[in-house]
Amino acid sequence: MADDLQTLLDTLAPLLVDGSPHAVALGFRLERIEPGLAEMRARYRDDLIGDPDTRVLHGGVVTALLDHACGLAAFAGLGGKDATATLDLRLDYMRPAEPGRDVVAIARCRRASGLFAFVSAIAHDGDETDPIATAAAAFMVSRVSQEAAEKARRAFGKSATPISKVEEE
């Protein structure tokens, strides 16, 4: 069962970030997706700097990275079937990221049941034990996101086999 979910997530992985124009525009890359866990990287880029004097990435980049990583962890936590809508996202900015370094977000789904998923995440710039930011987010499966997931399944066509397999179980 868990292996099936992993197969499904592996199948969907290319879509989960590259299917989102904003994530692509900011250069996000999916590093890891497992049942209830997502890891994503934002490459350091000059056009994402917040303050030219310090050359630190804008807080908004970290916000978008954590939001996306949390959404993926919720998706994976809920069984990879339904897209989710974010209810809220709370961020603590522990310290500025080091200029020049990539930022990596690691999001873990703490609990997922039925319609809701609760996720916590950290963002770090090289050392997981010294995060630059932490986040807590709540998600729900909304009607709008369910319709979108249905469209995605249809668009995915033949390679959707793993999805139907999961649904039947």
Binding site: P21, G50, G59, A64, D67, L89, L91
Partner: protein
Amino acid sequence: MSPLGPLLSSPYVRTMGVRFDGHGDELTAILPYAESLVGNPLIPALHGGAIGAFMEIAASAALLAGTRLAALPKPIDVSVDYLRPARPQDVYARGIITRQGARVANVRVEAWQDRRAAPVAALHGHFLIKPEGGQ
């Protein structure tokens, strides 16, 4: 230089395409629609992270417009409530400074699209500020 100068020269703010519209003491931040802001093209809805980031920019703008600051405000913590899916069109936001101390300010921001009375998201957060001439 306009009090919003430090924000206007921020590479990320320019990448996002954020503009500002000030009338007297009312300041509206504008996030013009671009395809690159879309989070999920199947709904379609703007990326929640883009909305959150835009509201952080709107909060900074409210602080810069209200007091002469020696540097851009830095977020300490922010909390974003997503109230409606943001459609693929322009987003507007206004910030209100709830309380401003010597170093920390509490700001609330609301973002909306068609109707201001139907916000798509709300943010509140604390920002570290460095007033000009201060310590």
